[in-house]
Point group: C2
Chain length 373, copies 2
Amino acid sequence: MTLSWTQAAADGAARAGVLHTAHGDVETPVFMPVGTAGTVKAMTADAVRSTGAKLILGNTYHLMLRPGAERVARLGGLHRMMDWPGPILTDSGGFQVMSLASLRKMDKDGVTFRSHIDGTAHRLTPERSIEIQHLLDATITMAFDECTPFPATLEQARSSMELSMRWAGRSRAAFTPRDGYGLFGIVQGSVFADLRAASADALTAIGFEGYAIGGLAVGEGQAAMFEVLDYTLPRLPADRPRYLMGVGTPDDLIGSVQRGVDMFDCVMPTRAGRTARAYTSQGVFNMRNARFADDARPLDPACACPACSRHSRAYLHHLFRCEEMLGPMLLTWHNIQYYQDLMRGLRAAIGEGRLDAHAAATRAAWQRGEEAT
Amino acid sequence: MTLSWTQAAADGAARAGVLHTAHGDVETPVFMPVGTAGTVKAMTADAVRSTGAKLILGNTYHLMLRPGAERVARLGGLHRMMDWPGPILTDSGGFQVMSLASLRKMDKDGVTFRSHIDGTAHRLTPERSIEIQHLLDATITMAFDECTPFPATLEQARSSMELSMRWAGRSRAAFTPRDGYGLFGIVQGSVFADLRAASADALTAIGFEGYAIGGLAVGEGQAAMFEVLDYTLPRLPADRPRYLMGVGTPDDLIGSVQRGVDMFDCVMPTRAGRTARAYTSQGVFNMRNARFADDARPLDPACACPACSRHSRAYLHHLFRCEEMLGPMLLTWHNIQYYQDLMRGLRAAIGEGRLDAHAAATRAAWQRGEEAT
């Protein structure tokens, strides 16, 4: 039986449930830390696990270039290589080809491009993307699509979406069903309701184990993104997980969960951790700020991660000031812990039918900031 | 009662024993990971502890500049700031002033210099160095000395050593005895036996809780260093710990333990870990080497650290090739684990009277390299 999702509770449009996979169960709504090139940057796999994260993401584009999909397969797959026996979702490579590779040449069958690392030539098609994700042993494989740039005209968005829908069918055909594994389709259509509806219908007709919303968080703004969710999500099969790709800030996650999204990934907490930005129950801090130099308090009194339970804000400030690697290590750990705690709180609130109140209280605490302590 | 050392076993000139400190007992011979600016680079305190390390080193020069000794004291001391309740030894700052600071001006009372970071002016005297180490809450304080440059003429070495001996007396006078804390004197005298003897006698006359050998591993070579140990160590009180500063390679550690050294510190395992060099039971590997790209074996089959027990050489190679932070994190962890395991093996061998055979077997395994597996 392929990967499945069972709903456990609902609160308005929000859903709580469990994703059943070959590599273990995952409670949703879930945030997936991004393990770009086979590592969640600046964290050991044990550290990632300690935050409660169950499902992580790997990038097909990065992994196909280094160390190479066939090599990962020879090493026993991505789970074994990176010490992550739990489930892994891989993207299709399309997004990074568009954002990172050079000399891209699209055709109806796929895209030819040069590596941003060494200029070597590569090609991705729906069939090759699915094959690579199979070689990586991805628990969840993403269909190969084109992430429509923003802004796009209606005609550009339509043509791009229709290409992605043809590729979705080819991805489905290329995917080898295995117990507890699954393939997700990706809804495109930019900010055009008719296109999103047509895309959702086309994917549903093909049939996937889950449905992603792509082409968002690319500059359209939170209000436009939420609007797309509002008209797109109800059109998707209610018994399948819904994944909002590349999103987002804690506030984005709350608003999207309230609208019915089950899965998220974003580099934000890891990238922020490397650049001294801390997500906390009291809002966002820049740990380089001199006001922390003598601040003996924990970064976030509500957090049990090592950065918060063992150290002071002053120490974190000191580490970033000295450019010590432990600064990014501890702050990445904290940010991933914060995101996991945030999702845990949302899941509990959905289960108890108090999501809106919980969301409002969480946002109010960010606003109050440190005065709250 | 001040910090003390009790001997548990001897094997030739080598000794095994226990250092009793305010922050816990430490078995010797011991290797101290270097926690330069309040962090063992690229490791959490938990990771350092997991290797079995009990005693770490902090650098007075780095900590006085950032975050500042008075600030560390306000934050509860170095133990609390860096989450290391165990014993900490701090150096006196003299060595880094000579190797890092600019516009140094020596006088008979101390040294005035500019920070290598921001050019601000600072001054270290024996009294200020001891005060800083007190503010840091160092378990073991080092006397303020001048590390004699190498090579030095007999007259240069004599004059430098005599200055250090006067400063040793002033360091002793400035040190506040506390239960389980101690002050170590530092033998200087370059590679001149008469000067080393005079320095050892001068320090013994003052009286310290331990004795360090300074001014070695500065370019004289292993043979000259061992020769200095051979004629200096017998001159020191047998009931006090002996610390060889800034040393060294695994082979240096073995040879020095065989000559009667009890304590070591060196940046080598941590620095090597950041530059892809691995110390293993099969010798030294450069993990950037392409021959590891498909090597699914553990880095060191004899090691239980996360790099060795969870991952392959191919993965470590991949991480360094991609400049992923996890590469330095895992390899530093491994190198510190290797150094701790090496010292554990030496302690056990001394206890069982088989040090020379153990040393020979360890060196032979490095020579055999991977053929051994």
